[in-house]
Amino acid sequence: MSSANPLTVAADVLFQLNAVGVQFGRVHALVACTLAIGRGERVALVGANGSGKSTLLRHLHGLVPASSGQMLRPVAARQAMLFQRPYMLRTSVQNNVAIGLWLGGMPWRAAREQALAALERVGLAELAERSGKTLSGGQQQRLALARAWALKPQVLLLDEPTASLDPAAKSEVEALMAEFADAGMTLIFSSHNLGQVKRLASRVLYLEHGHVLADAPVQSFFGGTLPPAAAQFLKGELG
């Protein structure tokens, strides 16, 4: 696990945000956000509800445009996003994975074959014929991981991927995230689980009211000096 921000070479930068702001009506969801995220990093976004974590992830994935500032992508990289409650279509588990590939332009038969391989990767191949809707929460999240992994992304964005999962399902999903990261995938995830952040992240961003108040390597975040607001959040969460 890398411990420092490795952005010494510009070519390593996947996302460069320059004073990016995102506004929904009168609500400033993200305010003057400036940061860079490099290849192979495991970035955790932490902060209270409504702090702007999901908005930042959605902006990085191109789902919400910037109201001000700009995001630069020096290197084109395939990316996929995982949501807290994955959308299960009324069809089989295999088709639920295949649909992502098919929407990307792959012929249906090939998409189904590749979907099966992705399901094997997350240990769900034996449930391929089941309806996606009948899976448990943990299984649905693993299916969503398979759907994302099948797209062969270089960057995986995850919005609270283990929220509302039981401990066993949580560790299954975490294990898969760690495997993906070890294979070289860049992970950017939001989480309220600081234990998970410690286990998976190499770098932590702390957000509050749309501002990035702290940006530090994981060891420094949990052991070093933090801005008062971040320190207070950490104290509250850990205490």
């Binding site: 789902l63 996929a80 949501f83 069809t91 088709n95 990307g104 014929e129 009948t134 759907r147």
Partner: protein
């Protein structure tokens, strides 16, 4: 009360005696309304899905017009279609006035806003919940609408029932453009109107009971489809969607 009892008795007699005249009226009613629903649905499903996911300037105005069209009086629709199809009208060359086709056209126009508006609402709700995830998988507006339409297919059956119910129960439009010609354009609702005007209330009511029975049968059919779908989902089996080689392999294991 006697009239009602008489009508039920008459309805029972008409059904059990397989009266050919009545059968032809019922079948014609079903054919006109079913065809109108198919035509209106083929346009309304796509248009509704697109309106559910697309965002464009003036969308609010379009939706306001669409929702207003839900209250289209059937007689007015009939009158407009009549003017279009009359000999001096722009579609007069078709020669459809007082024909089966004219009734189908009128009912299609009547039902189209219902299908479009209800599908639009359903798809918009689904898109609010899941649209971003489909977008993240690379689905543009068109595919997002199509995937949501397909995924909401069972819920949309209710829309089709509502559309069929509206079509088969309306009288104004088919009366104006069909002319209620015995053996050609007489359908259940126009027959009811005619028998009422003649004072044969038991027969009119009997036809009304029959009309309700037809819709009831349709509802039962839809309910059965829904129950079958729920049972299928609960069972989690998707054998019909399995590749042939897997099916063969499974058969070999038995």
């Amino acid at each position: 009360m006697n009239t009602f009892q008489d009508s039920v008795t008459t309805a029972f007699f008409l059904i059990t005696s397989f009266d050919p005249l009545l059968a032809s009226i019922v079948l014609r009613s079903l054919a006109v309304s079913a065809l109108a629903c198919v035509l209106a649905s083929s346009v309304g499903l796509l248009l509704g899905a697109w309106l559910g996911v697309a965002r464009f300037a003036g969308r609010g105005v379009v939706l306001a017009f669409l929702n207003t069209a839900l209250a289209l009086p059937s007689v007015v629709v009939g009158l407009v279609i009549y003017l279009l199809l009359s000999r001096s009208g722009p579609l007069g060359f078709l020669g459809w006035l007082f024909s089966f086709q004219a009734m189908v056209l009128a009912q299609s126009v009547l039902v189209l806003p219902i299908v479009t508006a209800l599908v639009r609402q359903s798809i918009e709700d689904a898109d609010r919940l899941h649209g971003e995830q489909l977008q993240s998988l690379g689905a543009g507006i068109g595919w997002r609408g199509m995937v949501l339409l397909w995924d909401e297919r069972y819920a949309l059956l209710t829309v089709l029932i509502a559309a069929f119910g509206r079509a088969i129960s309306e009288v104004g439009a088919v009366m104006v453009v069909g002319g209620n010609i015995d053996g050609f354009t007489r359908v259940m609702t126009t027959a009811i109107a005619l028998e009422t005007s003649k004072g044969d209330l038991p027969l009119a009511l009997a036809l009304g009971v029959l009309l309700l029975l037809v819709v009831l049968l349709l509802n039962v059919l839809i309910a059965l489809i829904r129950r079958w779908r729920e049972a299928r989902e609960a069972r989690g089996a998707w054998l019909t969607e399995m590749p042939t080689d897997v099916l063969i392999a499974k058969a070999g294991q038995c």
